[in-house]
Amino acid sequence: MAKIDVSVETNDQPTPPPSHPNTCPSCHSHYRDDELEKSQWVCEQCGHHFPMRARARIASLADPGSFAEEATELHSADPLGFFDLRPYTERLAQAEMETGLADAMVIGRAAIEKRQCELAVMDFAFMGGSMGSVVGEKFSRACDSAAEAKMPLVAVTSSGGARMQEGILALMQLPKTVAAVEDLHDSGQALLCVMAHPTTGGVLASFATLGDIVLAEPNALMSFAGPRVVQEITKEKLPDDFGRAEQNLRYGQIDAIVPRPELRPTLSRLLRLFDAPN
């Protein structure tokens, strides 16, 4: 008698239509804004980590009132006069209006449980957290700022990769941020990286993986090429947790997976460990 492989059939079901951003895609629990804010955008039923905006991330990590933002004046230019279906300048203006941010990264001085550090936090809501000249420059300045003040740099990443609209200059942000990390390391300071969902492409292939410590949030996608590209090119069946934090931990690519509620105490402990003896 022929058996029907139910698991295959379930896997082939079309993905349901996108639901409300406050509905957990994993267990379908629904939350009010204030409930999510209180739980640091983690589903209290199943532990799913919702995307976290840069300002909220800073508020959740830094001691109240300790964050002093730097390089606020930097805005993206349009070096190529790039024009796809819409001009890049229009996309930038729209992203700025929707997010209230100048670009996809916020940097500044902060204290985490009274330990001083420099913070560089990415925001996926600003053009998919893509890295163009401004993100590269801000990260580069954060490295210098940390080196000068003799304190570690904590970077929280969330990015789809390099920003195509800046062409080859976007690719040049990879060596730029790598060179900045090397200068930071030469100054004797540590880089602590936390990868949030998703950290892919150019950000993964530059500063994000060069941390002295590399942490990831549960289930964060951290792959150089996206799952769809890999599937298309190789025609291989992808493992269920392809490119996810758990797979990266299993293959020795990262140091630890840290759930969001434990991130602040974890970073505080690491900052203590990297503290100079005096």
Binding site: L74, H75, S76, A77, D78, P79, L80, G81, F82, F83, D84, L85, R86, P87, T89, E90, A93, G132, S133, V134, G136, A162, M164, Q165, G167, I168, L169, L171, M172, L174, P175, K176, V178, A179, A180, V181, E182, D183, T200, G202, L204, A205, S206, F207, A208, L210, S223, F224, A225, V230, I233, T234, E236, L238, P239, F242, Q247, N248, Y251, Q253
Partner: protein, 311 residues
């Protein structure tokens, strides 16, 4: 001449941009000027077809690859196969050879000529083993004071399950990090396709050259078209929008020098192409001679840290 469709669209966008509510610091007024200039320039620029021709030349199946240049430029060539960890990646070549009597370490991606070689070299798309092979060779160069020459020719790093499991992103990052630490001269030349992260992984050099018909880009025209135009068929438009050609890369300060090719492209006369490339490599290495290692490294980092345009 009647306005083209592109020009009409630009003008329409310009009108709309003028009416956008201005945010503090959004610098839209500067962009208005830029758009205006762009409209004025339209008649003079290389056409989409001309730029696309460069893409085709860079990918030409008869174009000389890394080993074709090695054969013509290096004496006593000895290939280093091992990454000392996991495997021998055919998409990445590393080795030692004499260039004008001086030992040089060469690293470069390698595409294949026939069907079998193409498959075994994965069309020049390295796995993490390939990048590890490159680190190993570059660290050897640093220990012994040999200059490093890299030849870039890849559509990109290989997007495979195994590659991701073994840390493709981290391998590319680490490769750049090693190049940012070397105290020996590094000269890189893009000889075909300079495809994204897979290319920059071996291109963080003191002097970056590019052959006349090579391309250097953040994403393939097809990939860009598929994402931004939602239609891979718009590849010519995408290429024209980000202009991956050598002249444009030179204008942006991404590369230092354009290396001439025989008329019609490097594949027309590989021997002449090799002589021209060899000449450019020698001149660049001579310029870097005698600079102390610490200075080389500081300048190299400063060069890349200065790249980017913002308001």
């Amino acid at each position: 001449m009647p306005p083209t469709e592109h020009e009409l669209r630009l003008r329409e966008r310009l009108g709309r941009l003028r009416n956008l509510p201005l945010l503090g610091g959004a610098r839209i007024s500067g962009e208005l000027e830029r758009l205006q200039r762009q409209i004025e320039r339209i008649g003079e620029e290389a056409t989409d077809e001309e730029i696309w021709r460069k893409v085709e030349l860079a990918r030409d199946e008869d174009r000389p690859y890394t080993l074709d240049y090695v054969e013509r430029l290096f004496d006593d060539w000895f290939e280093l196969h091992g990454d000392r960890a996991l495997g021998d990646d055919g998409a990445m070549i590393a080795g030692l050879g004499k260039l004008d009597g001086r030992t040089v370490v060469l690293v470069g991606q390698q595409k294949g000529r026939d069907v079998h070689e193409r498959a075994s070299r994965r069309f020049g798309m390295p796995n993490p083993e390939g990048y590890r092979k490159a680190w190993h060779a570059m660290e050897l160069a640093d220990r012994h004071g040999f200059p490093v020459v890299t030849l870039v020719d890849t559509p990109g790093a290989y997007p495979g399950v195994f590659a991701e499991q073994h840390g493709q992103g981290a391998a590319i990052a680490r490769s750049q990090s090693i190049m940012a630490r070397l105290k020996v001269p590094i000269v890189a030349c893009v000889i075909g396709e300079g495809g994204s992260g897979g290319a920059i992984a071996i291109a963080l050099a003191d002097r970056v050259l590019m052959q006349e018909n090579a391309i250097y880009s953040v994403i393939s025209p097809e990939g860009c078209a598929a994402i931004l135009w939602r239609d891979a068929g718009q590849k010519k438009k995408a290429a024209a929008a980000f202009r991956p050609d050598a002249v444009h890369c030179r204008e942006l300060g991404v590369i230092d020098e354009v290396v001439s090719e025989p008329v019609g492209g490097a594949h027309i006369d590989p021997d002449l192409a090799a002589r021209l490339l060899g000449q450019a490599l020698r001149e660049s290495l001579a310029e870097l001679d005698g600079i102390p290692g610490d200075d080389l490294r500081r300048r190299r980092r400063a060069r890349f840290r200065s790249l980017g345009v913002f308001a």
